[in-house]
Symmetry: C3
Subunit: 184 residues, 3 copies
Amino acid sequence: MASELFLMHQEALLAGTENLRGHQESLGAPSCQYRQSAHAGITLQYEAMYTIKVRSREREQMLEITDEVRRRLKDSGARAGVCVLFVRHTTAGLTVNENADPDVQRDMLHALRTLLPQQGLNFLHAEENSDAHIKATLVGSSVTVPFHDGELLLGRWQGIFLCEFDGGRERQVVLKIIGEAGQR
Amino acid sequence: MASELFLMHQEALLAGTENLRGHQESLGAPSCQYRQSAHAGITLQYEAMYTIKVRSREREQMLEITDEVRRRLKDSGARAGVCVLFVRHTTAGLTVNENADPDVQRDMLHALRTLLPQQGLNFLHAEENSDAHIKATLVGSSVTVPFHDGELLLGRWQGIFLCEFDGGRERQVVLKIIGEAGQR
Amino acid sequence: MASELFLMHQEALLAGTENLRGHQESLGAPSCQYRQSAHAGITLQYEAMYTIKVRSREREQMLEITDEVRRRLKDSGARAGVCVLFVRHTTAGLTVNENADPDVQRDMLHALRTLLPQQGLNFLHAEENSDAHIKATLVGSSVTVPFHDGELLLGRWQGIFLCEFDGGRERQVVLKIIGEAGQR
């Protein structure tokens, strides 16, 4: 009986693996890192990795990536867990804030620029972007957003943003999905 | 032998599930998301989710929620892993800081208000709370606190705070516990 | 067949446990918290915990700990997942930023000191380190860095730093590695 159960889990596991393989994206080398296992004949557990590429056009800009995250979460088939987002750059950050009124984003960049102007604070770093490095650290390089039943648990007004402080450039954001997959 | 071990795991798994079900709390729909499995006949692994509701009374306020987190961690039976806390609002943040002298909290709100006053920075957002949005992003929407042997690994002076920047309101904080359950 | 597979997993599990035990470091009580399991006969899954001790010499200082994290990640044998770092103090923070030009670190501490001077903001907290508490909250008490194929997914210019705001002192950083182990 136990053996049969276990064999069934193996088959579910392999099937789930096939389903996930289709959703990989590239981060130089292999980019979708998954681990799956079948527990109690019900769930598959795994972690998935994606790279989200974002192109900024201005020096300072807030670029919403909520839909990109949501799409990959759906693709992954994950049911419950956390999405960890990490920006691989030192002059851009990630944050969760309001996505309804664009004035909020304008006010945020304006206030940060007022507190930390590009010139005038006697910065030594020769690339004239010390302000961008500092803003990146204050905003932070990663955000963690929980999900449940396959849906991000964002509040009604929350969106996920890449905060560009020294663009325009192409930026890479790593998305790790850690949790539990649905029944397949 | 292996079959017997495996069957034993199944039973432990089901027993553990029953134990956890009692600790669910509501987040609209189902709110305690757990995944468990028995490994090596010793541990159960799972993730649990809770919602912590916090009521602020003033526009700016630091509200400690360490005890609420600690209680749910104990309820969950989790032994080692990380607690991820996420606030589902755009004008409140989460932080870990000193909980001994309330003057630290006063000084923090005072300094943030000095740098980012509600009026005077030519904000465009019409709700007169751009300062609160910016403070929320600077403080951050989530904190991650590791735990071991069922105890949060907070330092001696550390507490977990919701930082209210546009209260008084009821706020929701999602707590995800990701890790390993104790032996049941 | 299934039984044999399962037994094989048990053996791999125990072997993996032995391998990990050698890398424990002390956090008061036991400090390497691992959970492992064998899935599909291929991978071991676990979480590992380490404590990194950092000694600051000045009141304000950025101390890079990337190599310390990298070394423990390699020791753990983990293949894919996330490193969660958490500082157990209220006047120091953790950040990811540029590690090439030391002027970036100097400029960051300089700008924070300009915005939040130790004296002059009418702080009430009697220990004369309210500025340090506030900087710690703005920078944050934890960072989460994904890894893949055993390598941190840091960008080309990124390093992990402890930000000391009230040194010199010995500081403790907890490192939790959550993910999937390699084949052993």
